[in-house]
């Protein structure tokens, strides 16, 4: 066995050149000033947008899925529930916006699990940066996806016949409210991504949590037609409060009480699951 001979066969004569180039590159690696939390988070947001640029197919779930759901629910149940699709879309539109966006929040957990499995998160976690910035940046990028989903859903609803009383401003405020809650809810999925060991498990558990929240709510029908136990659940279901707030804003009615609920729930979710996520982030499976 040879030891440290420098003239190994099969290696091009450019070895020395490359060694020089690498030494030069290393010498150029002076540390710039450490970036702040906002700047690193925005950089991770930029990464999420680059991924959309390179893999635009990933926008299917934020465009086609909401369109399908809106059309199916409106035309399948509209007549039965509200007498006509026109009357039903007025009730359903704000709710289906909430549903579209909340379903998409799940993908954040699945994406995070994939990043961890592929090893790219090891690199991020080995950097001297504000620790939550990789996750916060992901959520910033996701805000773009949520906005696209809300816009697409809104446009479809308008085509079907939705004429929101609150006007553009009311709809925009409604979407903003929804984004605040989505930001809070997403930390539940990031936490799941760190404690569960496969992407499939993350999706499965997320779905199990999300189903009763979305379908056991006032999105599709007026709760006063439902049995008492279900009304009881809906009265404590945070998604129902979000729907009430979004519906109120888009219909141009007063929502002060509901807004307190939404902001309170969002803050609680970030407080509890954001903390749990960052605790687990130090030492994930």
């Amino acid at each position: 066995m040879s030891t440290t001979d420098t003239t190994r066969p099969g290696v091009p004569a450019t070895t020395a050149e490359q060694a020089n180039a690498i030494a030069t590159a290393l010498a150029g690696g002076q540390r710039p000033q450490r970036p702040n939390a906002l700047s690193t988070s925005v950089t991770f947001g930029w990464r999420a947008l680059l991924k959309i640029k390179h893999v635009p197919e990933q926008l299917f779930d934020v465009t086609l899925f909401p369109v399908m759901m809106t059309l199916i629910f409106t035309y399948l149940f509209g007549g039965a529930i509200a007498g006509s699709t026109q009357d039903y879309i007025a009730y359903l539109a704000p709710g289906i916006l909430v549903q579209s966006v909340l379903f998409i929040t799940m993908y954040t957990g699945a994406t995070l699990r994939e990043d961890i499995d592929k090893g790219v998160f090891d690199r991020f976690r080995s950097l001297p940066i504000w620790r939550p910035s990789a996750l916060v940046g992901m959520l910033l990028g996701d805000a773009v996806r949520y906005t696209i989903a809300a816009t697409v859903t809104g446009i479809v609803c308008v085509f079907v016949g939705w004429r929101p009383e609150g006007g553009i401003a009311g709809v925009a405020l409604g979407v903003l409210t929804l984004l605040i809650f989505a930001f809070g809810l997403t930390w539940v999925w990031t936490f799941l991504a760190l404690i569960l060991r496969s992407q499939r498990a993350v999706m499965g558990v997320s779905m199990m949590i999300l189903m009763p929240l979305v379908f056991g709510s006032n999105i599709f029908a007026d709760p006063s037609t439902m049995p008492g136990w279900l009304q009881g659940w809906i009265s404590v279901n945070p998604v129902a409060h979000v729907v009430d707030a979004v519906r109120g804003l888009m219909d141009g009615t007063s929502v002060a009480g509901e807004m307190v609920w939404v902001v309170g729930w969002s803050a609680a979710l970030v407080g509890v699951f954001g903390t749990l996520t960052m605790w687990k982030y130090r030492d994930p499976r």
């Binding site: 440290t4 290696v11 030069t24 590159a25 290393l26 690193t40 090893g119 998160f121 030492d283």
Partner: protein, 323 residues
């Protein structure tokens, strides 16, 4: 005390019932390459991940460049670079975008980040591939982008976790050249590998790790010496002579002589080289024609076998390296 690159005491990581890393004590000086040699699942990656602050030790403690990896994790992160076992790149992005991303996270602003990314792509011979998505790269190219991402800000200590696993021989040589260039520049490199020749080629000192424990440590020469002065390989001219030759060798060397798979070959580990020479004379006196006779240092393969009782590169797939 800042003079050691890595210093650990009783460093342990437990997954369920498995002690993936079991009370490791290390004292690794700055400069050069320190090799962590062991089969799959031996605990190499888990140990490196603790040192690079990716996972937290369950017991014991570790200091990297004088900083505690738990209490001063952030300072450690500022001083070390890590190239993981799986290329830690975003496959959807281009090589240049990956480097720009990391450069920005280190604090390079817009144009400066792009400039730094281009500099590194050039240095690593990737200027042409920079605009392609990483998913289209060969294993060797990924590795080079990955290593260049680890040195965007020149680290004092670089962790390389199995940098050549899965690479073809040419790409492997390229990575070796890169490691040598880093060391010449003054970077301390801690390298894990399951390839004995890689440790032999690159590492100044080697820790042999098996089932979470360090079972031997030293230079490659010291490790080889620890299993005997050398190994004798002999090939007789006529296969019928092999048994007679073996009897002569057993008598002269007073050690076990192994019948190799080759029906003409014998081998033995010898403590005393003079005795081996005398044995050669005895063979001649007995009228046995010898086709080949060599006396050399044992290979790291033999070292590993002697230390662990099982061959090095035959990975027992019982444990997944805890990810």
């Amino acid at each position: 005390m800042d003079d050691l690159a890595i210093e650990t005491a009783g460093l342990t990581k437990i997954y369920g019932k498995l002690r993936a890393v079991d009370s490791i004590d290390l004292a690794i000086a700055r400069g050069g390459v320190h090799g962590f040699l062991g089969p799959n699942g031996a605990g190499k990656t888990t140990a490196i991940r603790m040192l690079a602050t990716l996972i937290r030790p369950d017991e014991g403690h570790a200091r990297v460049l004088g900083r505690d990896v738990v209490k001063h994790a952030d300072e450690v992160r500022g001083l070390v670079g890590l190239t993981g076992q799986f290329a830690s790149l975003d496959e959807d992005l281009t090589g240049a975008e990956n480097l720009r991303l990391i450069a920005q996270l280190y604090g390079f602003k817009g144009a400066a980040a792009s400039r730094r990314a281009d500099e590194l792509l050039d240095a690593f011979g990737l200027a042409d591939a920079g605009g392609k998505q990483v998913k289209n790269y060969s294993g060797g190219m990924r590795r080079r982008v990955d290593i260049s991402a680890s040195i965007i800000v020149s680290p004092e200590l670089l962790f390389l976790d199995e940098p050549t696993t899965g690479l073809d021989p040419r790409a492997r040589n390229e990575v070796w050249d890169i490691v040598r260039a880093l060391v010449d520049f003054g970077t301390t490199v801690m390298l894990t590998t399951q390839y004995l020749d890689e440790a032999d080629q690159l590492a100044d000192r080697i820790s042999v790790i098996d089932t979470g424990k360090i079972i031997a440590e030293g230079t490659s020469t010291e490790l080889k010496a620890s299993v005997g002065a050398g190994s004798l390989h002999l090939r007789v001219m006529h296969r019928d002579d092999r048994e007679t030759a073996r009897d002569v060798l057993v008598r002269e060397l007073d050690v076990d002589v192994i019948r190799e798979a080759d029906p003409q070959a014998l081998s033995a580990s010898v403590e005393d080289r003079a005795r081996a020479t005398r044995a050669l004379g005895a063979l001649e006196a007995a009228g046995i024609d010898v086709a080949q006779f060599s006396l050399g240092q044992p290979s790291l393969d033999e070292v590993f076998l002697a230390l662990t009782g099982h061959p090095a590169e035959e990975a027992d797939a019982t444990e997944e390296e805890a990810a």
